[in-house]
C-alpha cells in the first residue's frame, strides 16, 4: 500500500532526473508513467493496487460532504419548526473497527450526521456512546451508520 506509493514517487523522481527538468508537469507525467508501470506488474505485489484504495478514499470524502450538507439541513429544519418534537437520549453502538485512526474517523463522521454525536468511547474501544437527537429511531440510525460509514472506512483500511 504505502510501499507501492513510494515506488510510484521514486519513478517520478527518476523521470525528472532523466529529463533534467525540475518542474511540476514533468513530475506529473512521471507519476502517470509510474502508475502505468505499477498497473502492468500489479500481480507482483501481495496487496491490491493502491489506486483502488484511492478510489475508496474519494468515495469516503464525497460521503463526508453529503452528510455535512444533510446534517445542516436537518438542524435548520428542527430550529425553524414551531414545535420541538424531539426525544434526546444516549445509546451504545458496537463497532468492528480496530485501529485508533479508524475509530477517530468513524467518530468524526458520526458527529457530522444529522442528530447524532459521539460523547465517549469505551476503554477497550469496542463501544461508542452516541447522543441522539431522536432516540425513537435508534435502530434505523444504528443500521444506517453500520451500512454507510463503517463499510466505507473498512474499504479504505482493509
Amino acid at each position: 500500500m504505502a510501499f507501492q506509493l513510494l515506488i510510484n514517487l521514486t519513478i517520478s523522481f527518476v523521470w525528472m532526473f532523466l529529463y533534467n527538468a525540475w518542474d511540476l508537469p514533468t513530475f506529473i507525467i512521471g507519476y502517470v508513467v509510474g502508475g502505468l508501470i505499477l498497473f502492468v506488474v500489479r500481480r507482483f505485489f501481495h496487496q491490491p493496487l493502491y489506486l483502488i484504495k484511492v478510489y475508496a478514499i474519494i468515495k469516503l470524502i464525497l460521503l463526508f460532504f453529503k452528510e455535512l450538507f444533510l446534517s445542516n439541513v436537518t438542524v435548520v429544519k428542527h430550529v425553524l419548526s414551531p414545535k420541538l418534537n424531539i426525544k434526546p437520549g444516549i445509546f451504545a453502538l458496537e463497532t468492528d473497527l480496530k485501529t485508533d485512526w479508524e475509530i477517530t474517523l468513524l467518530s468524526s463522521l458520526i458527529t457530522l450526521t444529522p442528530g447524532t454525536l459521539v460523547v465517549d468511547i469505551s476503554e477497550d474501544q469496542r463501544t461508542l456512546y452516541i447522543h441522539a437527537m431522536n432516540i425513537e429511531d435508534i435502530e434505523v440510525s444504528i443500521s444506517a451508520i453500520k451500512n454507510s460509514f463503517e463499510r466505507a472506512i473498512m474499504e479504505v483500511s482493509q
Binding site: D100, W101, I103, T104, V118, D120, I121, E123, Q125
Partner: protein, 140 residues
C-alpha cells in the same frame, strides 16, 4: 477512571506536523511579510504544548531529550555572535547586511544575516515557553 481520549491523541499526531510546518513557514516569511522569529518560536512551542496536553509532559521530554534552559542560552549566544560578527567587517555592533546569491535548484535567493539573528530569537522563545510550561506542569 481516565476517559478514553483516543480521538484527541489521533488528531494530535496529525495536527502537530501541520502546526510545525506552518511555524517554520512564518519564521522564514518574516523578512518581507508578517512573521518572524518570535511568532514562529511561539507556534513551534504551541505544537509541543499540544503534545503535552494530549499525551503527557514525559512525552515532550522523550521527543526533546535536552534541557530547555540550554536551548535558551544557545539562542542568546547565536544572537550575540551575529552582533559580534559585524566587528570582523569593521562595522558597528549589530550591523546587518544582505545580498543575492545564485544557489543550485533555488536560483536567485536573497540571504540576510538578520536570519541568523532570528534563529537565535526562535530558540530563545521555544526554550523560555517550554521551560515555563514544564516548570508549572511538573508542580505537584
Amino acid at each position: 477512571m481516565r476517559p478514553n481520549d483516543v480521538i484527541l491523541k489521533t488528531a494530535t499526531q496529525l495536527v502537530t506536523f501541520i502546526i510545525i510546518i506552518f511555524s517554520i513557514y512564518v519564521f522564514l516569511a518574516g523578512h518581507h511579510n508578517p512573521g518572524g522569529g518570535f511568532i514562529g518560536g511561539l507556534m513551534t512551542a504551541a505544537a509541543f504544548v499540544l503534545i503535552g496536553i494530549a499525551f503527557d509532559i514525559k512525552t515532550i521530554k522523550r521527543i526533546l531529550p535536552f534541557d530547555f534552559k540550554i536551548l535558551t542560552a544557545t539562542g542568546l549566544l547565536i544572537a550575540v555572535l551575529t552582533g559580534i560578527g559585524s566587528f570582523v567587517f569593521d562595522s558597528p555592533f549589530l550591523s546587518h547586511t544582505y545580498d543575492y546569491f545564485y544557489l543550485p535548484l533555488l536560483g536567485k535567493t536573497e540571504l540576510a544575516t538578520a536570519l541568523l539573528f532570528d534563529i537565535g530569537v526562535y530558540f530563545v522563545v521555544i526554550g523560555v515557553t517550554l521551560t515555563i510550561i514544564y516548570t508549572i506542569g511538573e508542580d505537584n
